[in-house]
């Protein structure tokens, strides 16, 4: 077993109203960043876990996302490659 660190990005499902993202987008435009088209605000979660290898660790975190970390109705998730912690 080795120790791995895996980062997870969770974002609002595309097409669903994202009022937080819209508020940040509007604030950026107010600041003069007029080129900004869209902003989405999500969560960044870092999981440290023991696993046999990186693939096993990534599979486990994918399972965690499906069961708890992300809401399958409203959110999408994307996991980064496992790195040795």
């Amino acid at each position: 077993m080795a120790k791995f660190r895996i980062a997870v990005h969770i974002t609002p499902r595309k097409g669903l109203l994202d009022p937080q993202g819209n508020a940040v987008r509007d604030a950026l435009r107010t600041l003069g960043f007029n080129e900004v088209k869209d902003v989405h605000v999500g969560r960044y979660i870092v999981v440290e876990t023991d696993a046999y290898d990186a693939i096993t660790a990534e599979e486990a975190v994918t399972d965690m996302c499906r069961k708890l970390l992300a809401n399958p109705v409203t959110e999408d998730f994307d996991i980064e490659s496992a790195v040795h912690a």
């Binding site: 009022p19 937080q20 708890l68 809401n71 109705v73």
Partner: protein, 230 residues
Amino acid sequence: MKFGIVTFPGSNCDYDAFHAITDVLGEEAVYLWHKDHDLQDSDVVILPGGFSYGDYLRAGAIARFSPIMEEVIGHAKSGGPVLGICNGFQIACEAGLLPGALMRNSHLQFVSAEVRIRVENADTMFTNLYDRGDILRIPVAHGDGRYVAPAQVLEELEAEGRVIFRYADAGGNISADANPNGSERNIAGIINEGGNVLGMMPHPERASSLLLGSSDGVGMFESILARVAA
């Protein structure tokens, strides 16, 4: 009839529900601790409002894995009545007892106000003492109350009469102005396929006597009593 009211860490409407059941309805109520595995022979389970586990991750996401929820889910699956109010609605959705999810209010503000909801289906164990089209004055208090679900699920809910309450104005019109959180189709409360699990964002237990501003919520508890006792 015995009502079991689940207390999660961060629940804050469990006492209001207890008051409505015991003092107003005159029925028996017990608090069910989130770490227990025992519903204490409750006939009806109430998942009360509050901020269980600080709304960490998502509202209701952690509470859904509390030990007591295994029993609550078992109770629901065997047809037992479950009423999820506010945070309880969020927990019921996270637990898969109800479809869809509750997201951040579209205006991003916490809303604490008395709203009006229209009874869309009075043929349920929770609403049988109302009439379809009745307008109830019931308070809401939430930051994450915007009901969303995939289009296909919304169509199913509509077709099967499972949208139980909709936010409306005093005249009973379903308008954007009457919608306090941006919920799809002004949905304020839904029921599961079996008709025994109801989730709603408004707080009927806080509208249980005129002293509190409205007694329009009492009919829900009396409906349960009338149906379950029968």
